[in-house]
């Protein structure tokens, strides 16, 4: 098992695997997005209370979920960076941050637009919204910190420390609606209870969550491949790879 992992900690092997998977991931993402959007915008029935405005859920929930998921991936990469100093983890950490920030931004904006007609306000400082906003600032902080340090490896390590410090925010965001009285409602889909959402509305939602995950994987893959080339630019496998590209693609 460790031999397998060790092989893919190698930049070259990861690059090759990622490049091979890329077109599949892209195709899968496109199909899932199309299916989820058709399901969410057209096929799912309107909500008895919120009417068609609830359809914003098909963007809001997947983004919010990804904002947390990406951060947890970064936390894993951060831990690996600090303990084992694996370059691939450093690259994964650095390249994930802007993607996580984008998802967080989207979650906040779609939530705000949804809140205006339903709650009656664009924003409230309740525990859920406030902690998600803090997450956005955390992402910005990680990106800024890494960018401010010239040495790539030191920058990654500093970013890793900040990432791990901020990880305490993730359970806070998740449990905020249970620990405190918030305007934001509780979870609709949770691990232990039957989901409190009609199946016809739930399926496109799950499809969109998976679609966003494969979207992240595809985008991260491309960014990581770019990062690997930058780290390993003197390696012979990289030079061979670049030489192998036909002139039309340059």
């Amino acid at each position: 098992m460790f031999a397998f992992l060790h092989k893919y900690a190698s930049l070259m092997h990861f690059y090759r695997l990622s490049a091979r998977l890329a077109p599949w991931l892209t195709a899968l993402t496109a199909v899932l997005l199309a299916g989820g959007l058709v399901g969410g915008l057209a096929l799912a029935p309107a909500d008895y209370q919120q009417g068609d405005s609830f359809r914003i859920i098909y963007l809001h929930v997947p983004s919010a979920w990804m904002s947390l998921f990406v951060y947890m991936c970064m936390a894993g990469a951060a831990f690996t960076t600090l303990v084992w100093r694996i370059k691939l983890a450093e690259i994964a950490l650095r390249e994930s941050a802007p993607l996580g920030a984008a998802f967080t931004f989207l979650a906040l904006v779609t939530g705000s637009i949804w809140g205006k007609p339903m709650w009656g306000t664009w924003w409230v400082w309740d525990a859920r919204l406030t902690s998600e906003l803090i997450l956005l600032f955390l992402y910005f902080g990680i990106i800024a910190l890494d960018g401010a340090i010239d040495d790539r490896r030191m920058g990654a390590r500093a970013a890793a420390v900040l990432t791990l410090i901020g990880v305490v925010n993730i359970p806070i965001i998740h449990y905020s609606v249970e620990w405190w009285s918030t305007l934001h409602q509780g979870p609709t889909v949770s691990k232990f209870d039957k989901p409190s959402i009609d199946t016809r509305m739930l399926i496109p939602l799950l499809v969109m969550v998976v679609a966003f995950t494969t979207y992240y994987a595809a985008a991260l893959g491309a960014r990581m491949r770019a990062g690997i080339l930058a780290y390993d630019h003197k390696a012979s496998w990289v030079r061979a790879l670049v030489r192998g590209r036909s002139p039309e693609h340059a």
């Binding site: 008895y48 600090l82 339903m118």
Partner: protein, 147 residues
């Protein structure tokens, strides 16, 4: 032990330490993070008397009284234990209606009336199409009538 093992322990301890620190800070700030007070807490005197605060509860059926002219409305919020009457002048959100969860931002005036400056609708985490909602409501009504 190996330097890597030492690094691992230091990092794990740091994370644990930060987690504990965050937990302590949060419990200290708990009161400020409560987004709204319930009618029971208000009745127990836990809500501020001279400052604005947020009151949350469900609108009691039949308690909504609108004035014929203008936007003035009275309604009662309950947490199924205690109740609190609210006075509000302004536009109510789309979701406002009896039986709905509401958060009212306001304060007690000199005569002990809770005057809201802002009324927000809370909605629960349930999503269903109208026919299912009707079926649920019908089921509940039938349940009420059985001896």
């Amino acid at each position: 032990m190996t330097p890597r093992r030492k690094r691992l322990i230091v990092i794990l301890l740091s994370i644990a330490g930060l987690g504990i620190a965050a937990g302590l800070i949060l419990t200290a700030f708990n009161k400020n993070l409560m987004y709204f007070y319930s009618p029971t807490e208000v009745a127990a005197g836990e809500a501020p008397q001279n400052r604005p605060f947020r009151l949350g509860g469900m609108v009691v059926e039949g308690s909504v009284m609108r004035q014929p002219q203008g936007l003035t409305v009275w309604f009662t919020l309950t947490d199924f234990n205690k109740e609190q009457v609210v006075y509000y002048e302004g536009i109510l959100p789309d979701l406002f209606r009896e039986g709905q969860g509401i958060v009212a931002n306001g304060q007690f005036n000199e005569t002990g009336v809770f005057v809201a400056s802002e009324v927000l609708a809370k909605h629960d985490e349930n999503y269903m199409p109208p026919e299912v909602a009707d079926a649920v409501a019908a089921g509940k009504a039938a349940g009420d009538h059985t001896p």
